[in-house]
């Protein structure tokens, strides 16, 4: 009787806590990929998910990560926030394990022990800036939650806008969880910028969208037409949280929307809905988690071992047909080539894809190719979808 090789894979997501909705969709994406891999090769190596939930508590990440690593696990798919990733990277490096990080983030990091399948800043914010400047103008209000994601994205926005002759008359940071925006909205309405760049997260973002729409309507302003809100973190599960009255007309930059028209995405959506009928709906980070677990499983199968060195060498040779299109890993930075897109939310809690890149775009986590010091590169040119 043949010996069936089993590989235990750590899945570290805060499925409870303040950002639990997105993290649950990420866990679902990773679980779905492992399930599909197990079904694809009967009799071959199988993958056993070991799920851990830090509950959004930063202290729990290190403890749970250590437990997973000490139990012999070499690969962990997980983390959503940068603070949680920074917390566990030293442990991952110490054990020479691999973290498969499946979320868009602000960049300025590379580690030989991390594979990044979410979007780098050149794949989300740069195409967004290009689109908003061309379509709406260069007078921008930046509004964000008071933490690294917002600080860094607003810095990139501010520097690029100023370099292109625009202006940022207001830049504000709000405590995470703050939900009263009446004063700030008053300021925005008196400034009347060409658009608002939103880097608020969670409940703050949902409250802002609702209150902004209400106050604009009360003042006779067509919010989506006159002061649109652009984000590079807004996803489908969050549209549900915004609610039906203010859900439509928001611009989002992402490498994946559930409305992307590929056969792989149709299959992904169907399998996801079948496996998780109670939701939450898919998100770009759920897709990135699905891709991360897929790449991991395929690499382990390919080398016949979960040896970190071998898997890391092998994964950069793989090309997978992901729901968003072809995805592969850049050997220099271990970040993924992904396909940037611009979407606009509609009343069906989805995004209409307006623009997309013609081919996967090389990751540039340090924005080396967008240097105001030497030359200003153009972001990836997107083609019109509708």
């Amino acid at each position: 009787m043949g010996y069936l090789q089993e590989y235990r894979i750590g899945l570290l997501f805060s499925t409870t806590g303040s950002y639990g909705v997105v993290a649950r969709s990420m866990l679902n994406g990773a679980l779905l990929a492992l399930k599909e891999l197990n079904g694809e090769a009967p009799g071959g190596a199988t993958f056993v998910p070991v799920v851990a939930d830090p509950g959004g508590s930063i202290e729990r990440y290190a403890d749970l990560c250590r437990d997973l690593l000490c139990s012999g696990i070499k690969h962990i798919v997980g983390c959503y926030t940068s603070s949680s990733r920074k917390e566990i990277i030293p442990l991952i490096e110490k054990h020479d394990a691999l973290l498969w990080y499946p979320s868009h983030y602000e960049g300025f990091e590379t580690s030989n022990n991390v594979i990044y399948t979410g979007a780098s800043p050149n794949q989300h914010i740069m195409p967004l800036i290009d689109h908003m400047l061309a379509r709406y103008g260069s007078r921008v209000v930046c509004l964000g939650s008071n933490y690294i994601w917002a600080w860094e994205n607003n810095r990139i926005m501010r520097e690029t806008i100023l370099l292109r002759g625009g202006s940022v008359p207001l830049e504000r940071y709000i405590a995470i969880g703050e939900i009263d925006f009446s004063t700030i909205i008053g300021e925005i309405m008196s400034i009347r910028p060409n658009f608002v760049f939103n880097t608020l997260i969670g409940t703050s973002a949902y409250s802002f969208f609702k209150q902004f729409r209400e106050q604009c309507a009360a003042a006779g302003i067509n919010q989506t037409g006159e002061i649109p809100v652009a984000s590079c973190s807004l996803s489908e599960p969050e549209l549900q949280a915004i609610g039906p009255d203010a859900v439509d007309g928001h611009i989002s930059s992402s490498v994946y929307f559930s409305s992307v028209a590929t056969p792989e995405n149709d299959a992904f959506l169907e399998a996801y809905a079948r496996s998780y009928p109670d939701g939450p709906s898919v998100s770009a980070d759920a897709e990135a988690s699905f891709v991360a677990a897929k790449l991991l499983g395929l690499s382990i199968r390919s080398v016949g071992s979960d040896n970190v060195r071998q898997v890391r060498s092998d994964v950069v040779k793989l090309r997978v047909k992901a729901p968003q299109g072809e995805v592969f890993i850049d050997p220099d930075t271990l970040h993924a080539y992904l396909t940037p897109r611009i979407g606009r939310s509609n009343r069906n809690f989805c995004f209409d894809v307006l623009l997309e890149a013609r081919a996967p775009v090389q990751p540039d986590p340090y924005l080396l190719r967008y240097s105001p010091r030497f030359t200003l590169d153009q972001p990836a040119r997107l083609r019109l979808v509708q």
Partner: protein, 217 residues
């Protein structure tokens, strides 16, 4: 003088790696390449370092020196009273005051702890290069102020001379200031030139000592 712009993108810079051993150089070069820098090994010998000064461009180059290596003297690097020829980042193994003092004497404005980890290299470049640029700016500012300070004597003399021609001190200073601006000189440099000219054979047509100071209006 305008303070230097803070640099954050080091794409295209060159790292000159002085006496950095292979085990440290390999991970460091890997990370530098990710940040867009090219790296060149440099031997830690006196004659090599002596020849380096003429090839280094402080806008482009950053010197990375191994703090545990026996690099002779301060060579082309800074003495504590002089600015290094380019930004210096030191690799620190032994954290003793003696070694750290030598590295600061080299002009190090940032340290990278050994063994080199990928994280921390960007911060060290950021601090090292921007710290150097700031120090260079401050040094130039001080040198310019020193030169002006030395010129105050000439300014006082020129004011006194103009006062001898019937102006009060305010009017004399104002006259000199405006004339200096027209000549695109500092008021001190203008006063020096004016007095030089007045003291000897006319070189620039500003007048001579026996005649009243002549300033073009």
């Amino acid at each position: 003088m305008t303070p230097p712009r803070m640099l954050q993108n080091f794409n295209g810079n060159r790292a000159l790696m002085i006496a950095v051993p292979g085990a440290t150089a390999v991970p460091l070069c890997g990370m530098l390449a990710k940040l867009g820098l090219s790296a060149e090994p440099i031997e830690g010998k006196a004659e090599v370092l002596g020849a380096l000064a003429s090839q280094v461009n402080h806008e482009r180059d950053v010197l990375i020196v191994d703090g545990d290596a026996d690099v002779p003297g301060v060579g082309p690097f800074a003495t504590p009273s002089r600015l290094a020829m380019a930004p210096v980042i030191a690799l620190v193994g032994v954290e003793t005051p003696g070694r750290l003092r030598v590295l600061m004497g080299f002009g190090a404005t940032a340290f990278i702890r050994k063994p080199v980890q990928q994280s921390g290299v960007y911060s060290a470049l950021f601090l090292g290069i921007n710290g150097y640029r700031h120090r260079r700016f401050v040094d130039e500012l001080i040198a310019a102020q020193e030169q002006r300070r030395r010129g105050r004597r000439a300014l006082v003399k020129a004011i006194l001379k103009l006062m001898g021609q019937g102006l009060d001190d305010e009017a004399a200073y104002e006259l000199l200031r405006k004339a200096a601006m027209r000549s695109r000189l500092s008021v001190e440099a203008y006063s020096e030139a004016l007095l030089d000219d007045a003291n000897g054979p006319s070189r620039n047509g500003l007048g001579d000592i026996s005649a009243p100071l002549k300033i073009r209006f």
